[in-house]
Point group: C2
Chain length 219, copies 2
């Protein structure tokens, strides 16, 4: 009986998270009430507070799990190879794949930071910085190895992340392009942006690695 309750509890908690992401993405965090959320899930408002003692606790949990998921996905996707082009390709592919599957959660994570308490905001921003630092390290390694040509590592990292996350604004499955085609084009744009050789003109290994990355993305 306890086990069944636990299992139901987990299901309810998952339902709460999913409904919260959708409601916040649709109306905004400040406009969503716990009562509205409870009605959406089909439970009493009091039941919600068992899982999330405050509304901000719920928002923080959604954001923390989003960032943990992204970090875990990157740890899995990060290649053993030290080659900057391979690592950058993996970063781009992982970033686009992760966010395209979590459009609403990404909107919530990017837009509702204003509603976190200072301590919790710091915690989330620290996780983001750690994730972005991985990209800066790849860019710096590539520039030092002479594979990339970069003016400003920090600005390039921000530009790439915003360009990639921006895919969720316009991409809809089943339209003109598949995720694979979009990712291949973004890989190509990324490699050009970091100066990893333009198609057919480069003399170093970047273009070959890009070709491999494109083949992989096309599978």
């Amino acid at each position: 009986m306890a086990r069944t309750t636990g299992s139901d509890g987990e299901k309810t908690e998952a339902a709460v998270r999913e409904a919260a992401v959708n409601l916040i993405a649709r109306f905004g965090y400040e406009a969503m009430s716990m009562r509205q959320l409870a009605a959406e899930v089909g439970v009493q408002a009091a039941a919600l507070y068992r899982y999330f003692p405050t509304k901000e606790e719920l928002l923080f949990t959604l954001m923390r799990e989003h960032m943990e998921g992204l970090t875990d996905a990157w740890e899995t996707a990060c290649p053993i190879s030290a080659d900057p082009v391979q690592r950058l390709s993996a970063y781009v592919e992982n970033h686009i794949a992760f966010h395209i599957e979590r459009r609403h959660a990404t909107h919530v994570s990017n837009m509702e930071l204003r509603s976190l308490s200072p301590e919790r905001l710091t915690q989330i921003l620290r996780m983001r910085t750690a994730y972005e630092k991985e990209l800066r390290a790849i860019l710096r390694d590539g520039a030092e190895a002479g594979v990339f040509s970069i003016d400003d590592t920090g600005l390039t990292a921000m530009a790439l992340i915003q360009m990639m996350t921006g895919v969720i604004v316009w991409f809809r499955p089943g339209e003109r392009l598949s995720i694979t085609e979009v990712t291949a084009t973004y890989l190509s744009m990324t490699m050009r942006l970091v100066g990893a050789g333009t198609d057919g003109e480069t003399t170093h290994d970047g273009a070959r690695a890009l070709g491999r990355a494109r083949d992989a993305a096309a599978l």
Copy 2:
């Protein structure tokens, strides 16, 4: 007397717009009430409805004027020259300058589209499409002239716009870099992304024009 009233009216309307942009950027459109807005401006709620009969009318006005301002700024900034590199440089400079000065209005315009009625949403999206079409035309002209190397004009336009608008997320005046330095770096990244030659390696005119654009941005 009538003139004074008119002038006060214009001041009040401007104050309403400014307060609305700030409140919506901070709490979200759905969470903002007309009563809260009236209190912020220091007028009776009834007075607001003289300027904006509905809350959605207010949101729509903010978004329409934002897009009209962007379009007007681009019409002024658009060079007479047909050179794709010069036109792309002008587009990037204008886009960054416009949005960096209107951080809150940009957030509102990008995040609150969900709250517009279908007809008004269509109107705003039509204005956006027209503005983005200008960029696609520059990219297409550059590709046809052999100055740019582009895989997909539509995707490249979206990537560039999201990369550039993203500046408002992290840029704060008075920090490490000036607007001029940020713009110069984004110009350089843009030119590389569209394949307009990497520094010192290109054989066509792109790099020279880029140099000119950088000099201009550095003034």
